[in-house]
Subunit: 338 residues, 2 copies
């Protein structure tokens, strides 16, 4: 039988803090009988928000908070009792098997890296998330924690991303693609070209270069890129989706006929919204660490935050850090012996 | 009175070649009495496609074609009589004031640069296009011809983009933003941070860092980024738009009720499609050259190609290369004297 599963939540992090995290925790536990959640943060704030007694939901006091605009260095140096830091400490100490935070990404990454340490042979943690595609979904990494990646970094992202998808999706041989600006060999920058060689020589199911539109078309399970490019692609996507929704709303509001059409089209549009609802994809994993850290979107609502908790549980059950450690070792050995 | 306006079209370029370029030219001339078009390409192919005599549409023979997968170096060295090269030569010789090509971007950039030369103080040509936004549209550059840009390159893009928008949109003081992965000063790579300083110190209407979603939200007129990032953002956008359209179509086809709803919603959806129709945005300008070169999408249809011709005309009328040359000079002088 598995030990009890405990997930620590940075209850003060994100744009809404406990106003989202506490109800998300309560609702999550209602649906999942196998998990215990720990709300990390100021007891005097969290206590009054908590419904009377639940054996599987408790508060762990932490006196400080990391602000959304705190520099990572400041968070590390002078916020040693922040809800974020204490949640990560619990993972380090084995009191929790994973933590979730909607706080400042830079501070989360720096703190997680400092406290948990990197896996052997991994240089940088990478942020990965699933995005909707015509086929189902596509994972993309890195999404913003790494700029100026070397070919080795990109290769490590490929190995880690492939193993994550294998672990959580039960996909034995995920198709890995490298984001570039054209299928032609002549394009792309030096790091990308070198990473292409490394990936092609590996035992990963590497399908070669892919372009920005392939993320949403499908045909690839893991898209590898540096954090700058990944973040821009992700944000552009959010932007275009919002623009489309804006124009459609405006169009259906034009007159009584379009309002009626809108009413009739509502079930289709709602279905469609559910399919690509970013809340259903909320929860990016920080890969490469000796522990599971899930980053929720800062503006996540209750539904979105619950999804991030669910991802944490999935990664605990599929033992993601250990699987990644083994996979990275295998691939680096192969490279050395090649 | 202005001299007659002549635009040279690379009639063999693009996925469809003359099958699109010839009807686009004919239709364009029907709507615009002020322009003459020259179809550059193989006479034996183009002749039979041409409707009987039009004083404003003629063929200029060129015996070769640049293939979509030709390396730029090959196009330059061994295709000196290609339709692409000859169309650019006509601009150089003053026989045309602009040219349009749907051919291979790399070859087009290399050939245009070789034949027309760069403007003083500009290191690299940049590809710019307008994209739809909630506010109307946003220009973005560079979109794929430059990878690994320095801060100076990015600064030049800002100056050129600002002047283009000023010239063609009559916007006296376009808002220029620099694409980054967060508003915080700590993020971004070195080149971007340095470009930020250069832009902030300039007399451009620089509004600081913007993120991928701002392109579609509006609030900025010109978004500056390196070609890798710009191309990925553009392609991701295409991808997500296609995915959305796929899911909506699928949704409306589900049963007779949704089909009826789809029928009723049709006018709204068609209106919306028109608003963001990529064909209405087809035609990217290669800025920084001593002449006007417009890149049409390789897969452009007749409507899209006509739009690219219209952009060429607009740039001729607003004297874009000379305006950019003056603007670049002003800004570089200011930098030297600062």
């Amino acid at each position: 039988m598995r030990d009890k599963t405990v997930i620590a939540l940075d209850a003060m992090g994100g744009d809404h803090g406990p106003a989202v995290v506490v109800p998300a925790a309560v609702e999550y536990l209602r649906d999942d009988p196998d998990v215990e959640l720990v709300l990390v943060g100021r007891e005097e704030v969290l206590g009054p928000l908590l419904p009377t007694s639940s054996g599987r939901l408790r508060i762990h006091h932490a006196s400080q908070e990391v602000e959304m605009d705190d520099l990572p260095s400041k968070a590390l140096r002078s916020k040693k009792d922040s809800s974020m830091r204490v949640a990560i400490n619990m993972v380090k100490a084995g009191e929790a098997q994973a933590c979730v935070s909607a706080g400042n990404t830079g501070a989360l990454m720096a703190t997680a890296r400092f406290v948990l340490k990197m896996l052997p042979n991994v240089n940088r943690p990478a942020l990965i998330t699933a995005l909707p595609s015509i086929e189902g979904h596509t994972y993309m990494l890195d999404l913003g924690s790494n700029v100026d990646c070397s070919a080795d970094h990109l290769f490590q992202f490929g190995v880690m991303g492939s193993e994550l998808v294998s672990a959580v999706d039960g996909n034995a041989s995920p198709r890995v693609g490298l984001l570039n600006i054209g299928q032609e060999e002549i394009k792309g920058n030096e790091q990308v070209k070198q990473a292409h060689e490394l990936l092609a020589a590996s035992s990963l199911n590497y399908i070669g270069y892919v372009e920005g539109d392939d993320v949403y078309r499908g045909g690839v399970d893991v898209v590898v890129c540096d954090g700058f490019v990944g973040n821009v692609a992700l944000k552009s996507t959010e932007g275009v989706a919002k623009m489309i929704s804006h124009f459609l709303k405006q169009g259906f509001r034009r007159n009584w006929l379009t309002r009626l059409a809108g009413l009739m089209a509502m079930p289709v549009i709602n279905d469609f919204k559910r399919t690509i609802d970013p809340r259903r994809y909320n929860g990016a994993s920080l890969l490469g660490l000796r522990g599971i850290v899930i980053k929720s979107h800062g503006g996540a609502d209750v539904l979105a935050y619950k999804n991030a908790i669910g991802i944490a549980k999935k990664e605990i059950y599929s033992d993601v850090p250990n699987r990644i450690a083994r996979e990275v070792e295998t691939h680096l050995e192969k490279r050395v012996h090649a």
